[in-house]
């Protein structure tokens, strides 16, 4: 059994919801355990955090000095390092606390808020170590993690889904909530992967899967303005689950500022 590929699931600051992508797999979890050896996954009972592995999945954001040391050790012990979910990939909803500082002081004092953000307390894994694959989503799905494991075990590059939620809505023939209801939907700038759930529920997407490729946030923000949203409401649309993602951070900070003509 020693030659089975080894995987680990590590937790940083998070809600544990992305680990459920594994724990909710049902029978597939047992099948996965036949394909690989799960050496570290504290919630599931395996505790060997420092054992070398082929794939390390990281849930959660870096928010303490110990986290920085821990992620460096994990990187050192892992062939592939895969972030799962918004916290690990963009700092998560808790990265909003970084922004409180940048909004209050940074906007008025510093020309480059990005510089201050790099010193803030909830950050994506990729800001600290090299990440081989990022799985976006709040939460990620079982399908995403299994597809990643499969691709990496076969030695092929995992397919990156980075197109917009809008395309998924069109494929599903879901009625557009922005066109039909004037809802401030973030689908036009958000990465697909959830299955376009919110529009199917008749509501606007809130971008829990992070930015899509080439997102035109500025144009969408002006569209929201046309729908009657105040600038701070527009800013809040971008500054939510993935406020640490550069595209959303930039748009959010621009619209947070008082109008200056």
């Amino acid at each position: 059994m020693a030659d089975k590929p080894r995987i680990a699931v590590h937790k940083f600051a998070s809600c544990d919801g992305c680990q459920l992508a594994f724990l909710n797999l049902g029978e597939d979890l047992l099948r996965l355990a036949q394909l690989v050896e799960i050496v570290h996954f504290a919630e599931a009972g395996a505790v060997h955090p420092d054992m070398p592995v082929d794939i390390a999945f990281i849930e959660g954001s870096v928010s303490t000095p110990e986290d920085i040391e821990r992620i460096q050790r994990i990187r050192h012990n892992s062939k592939f390092l895969v972030t799962i979910g918004a916290c690990a990939t963009s700092g998560g909803v808790q990265a909003l606390r970084n922004l409180a500082h940048s909004q209050q002081w940074v906007a008025s004092i510093y020309a480059k808020p990005e510089y201050i953000r790099s010193l803030a307390t909830s950050t994506a894994i990729a800001q600290h170590v090299n990440v081989d694959l990022e799985l976006w989503g709040c939460p990620v799905s079982g399908h995403q993690v299994l597809a990643a494991v499969r691709a990496l075990l076969f030695g092929v590059a995992p397919v990156e889904l980075n197109e917009k939620v809008c395309l998924e809505c069109k494929r599903r023939q879901t009625v557009c909530v922005m066109v039909a209801k004037g809802a401030p939907c973030l689908g036009p700038v958000t990465r697909t992967g959830c299955g376009a759930l919110c529009p199917q529920f008749g509501r606007d997407c809130y971008a829990c899967y992070g930015p899509a490729e080439n997102p035109n946030t500025e144009s969408l923000a002006r569209r929201f303005e046309g729908l009657g949203l105040l600038p701070e409401a527009i800013a809040r649309r971008f500054l939510f689950i993935n406020s640490g993602a550069p595209a959303f951070h930039g748009a959010g900070v621009r619209w947070s500022k008082p109008p200056h003509g």
Partner: protein, 432 residues
């Protein structure tokens, strides 16, 4: 007489609990000198993150406090805001929220019983190992867990951070055909849930009685989920807006979660506390299954929590089916609300215990202040008290590894959800 020795046990990462915690134990001269359940889950400061957000954003934000019980957070939040706005969403919404909540109980309790707790009883380290010797039982657990997830998915699109709940009701009503399919699944699960009650009661559960106060919601005749008054077995009976007068939170240096005390003393919330206070509200078949286990109530043995969870799964399957048998599609799945400034209170029964919320909302609908008291912060002082008694009674002369295993089992009885530790008082920001 066993030899007295000084021991120091540190369990740096507790396995099979949700979130990250550690246990520290110092024994001197045969007595416990110091015992700490350390919760070092980094604070995520949700109460601060909520400030300034629009009331409508609250359900999606608080879901992120806990991936295992997002529905509980959404339910307490919408109840608090609707309470403030003086909105009554009506019988359809109230029944369907109950069904949704049943889904979360089934999912969370099944996960806990099979993946976190059961391996203890068979000398396994994980459910994967357990499946090799107890395939049928594990498969039954996975089926129930999947059923819970399917119920949440019906109302919210996905089982972790579902998107269906809004202030005033739901974003979408399930179609009749979807409900029909789920009813068939629920019917098939009834005998499985009943068998699970008997299986958990047949496990080798340690005999260990302790004195403690149970606290739970209670609401005329229905087993508590989404509403009720807060009651205890020591004469507490208050409406949820009076919580702050009877419960106080204290910071302890070794934990980022606050310790919540009732009149200055530890207390218990969760499945066993609910059963101790609401056993009379169980539907007849569920009550019969519980009675057949021979467990006497009120129950003072925390190791029976696993049976209490199984009973609540059986109840939740029964209850979801009962409510969905009467399903009809509503004209609208929500009611419109009007913003009112002030403070609103919400309290519901999360899988692991009472979850209390307070929101102060400004005239523009934004949250001025939020306060969230999760079940784990309420149980934390009780867990430490239990550990002191349980380990002393178990015998401190046992090997370190045995003491550690017993300690972990005691902690797991409470199914602590350490990620839910939303509070913080002392935050150190490192800036270089």
């Amino acid at each position: 007489m066993a030899e007295r020795r000084d021991i120091s046990i540190q369990v740096p990462v507790l396995a099979r609990v949700e979130g990250e915690g550690a246990l520290e134990l110092r024994v001197h001269n045969g007595a416990i000198e110091d015992l700490k359940l350390r919760i070092f889950e980094p604070p995520r400061m949700f109460e601060k993150l909520l400030e300034g957000r629009d009331y409508s954003e609250v359900p999606d934000m608080v879901a992120r406090i806990c991936g295992i019980c997002p529905v509980a957070y959404q339910m307490s939040a919408v109840q608090a805001i609707e309470n403030l706005f003086r909105v009554e969403p009506g019988p359809w919404v109230s029944a369907m929220r109950r069904v949704l909540y049943c889904g979360e109980w089934i999912q969370s309790h099944s996960l806990h019983i099979h993946m976190l707790a059961a391996p203890d009883f068979f000398g396994c380290s994980s459910v994967v190992e357990l499946a090799r010797t107890h395939a049928a039982e594990v498969r039954r657990g996975l089926t129930l867990q999947a059923l819970g997830n399917d119920i949440i998915r019906l109302f919210g699109g996905r089982s972790v951070h579902p998107v269906g709940v809004r202030v005033g009701g739901f974003h979408r009503a399930p179609a009749m055909a979807e409900v029909h399919a789920l009813r068939a699944q629920l019917r098939a699960a009834l005998p499985q849930a009943e068998a699970l009650v008997h299986w958990t009661a047949s496990l080798d559960l340690p005999e260990s009685e302790q004195e403690f106060t149970s606290v739970a919601l209670r609401h005329s005749g229905e087993y508590p989920l989404t509403r009720g008054r807060l009651v205890s077995d020591s004469k507490l009976d208050i409406s949820v807006d009076r919580f702050e007068a009877h419960f106080t939170e204290q910071q302890v240096p070794h934990s980022t979660a606050l310790h919540c005390l009732h009149d200055g003393r530890p207390y218990l919330v969760g499945p066993l506390a609910r059963l101790n206070l609401n056993r009379d509200c169980l539907p007849a078949p569920v009550r019969a299954a519980l009675d057949s286990t021979g467990i006497r109530f009120p129950c003072r043995n925390m190791h029976y929590s696993i049976v209490a969870r199984a009973v609540e799964i059986y109840f939740a399957v029964h209850e979801a089916l009962r409510l969905l048998e009467a399903y009809s599609e509503p004209d609208s799945p929500f009611v419109e609300v009007q913003i009112r400034a002030g403070a609103g209170f919400g309290c519901t029964e999360a899988p692991r215990g009472t979850l209390w919320h307070r929101y102060d909302v400004a005239t523009d609908g934004s949250v001025a202040r939020a306060r969230i008291v999760p079940p784990t912060s309420q149980n934390q002082a009780r867990i430490e008290a239990d550990l002191r008694q349980a380990l002393q009674a178990y015998g401190l002369e046992h090997e370190d590894a045995a003491l550690r295993r017993r300690g972990e089992r005691v902690i797991r009885n409470y199914d602590p959800c350490i990620s839910c530790a939303t509070h913080f008082l002392d935050l150190r920001v490192m800036r270089s």
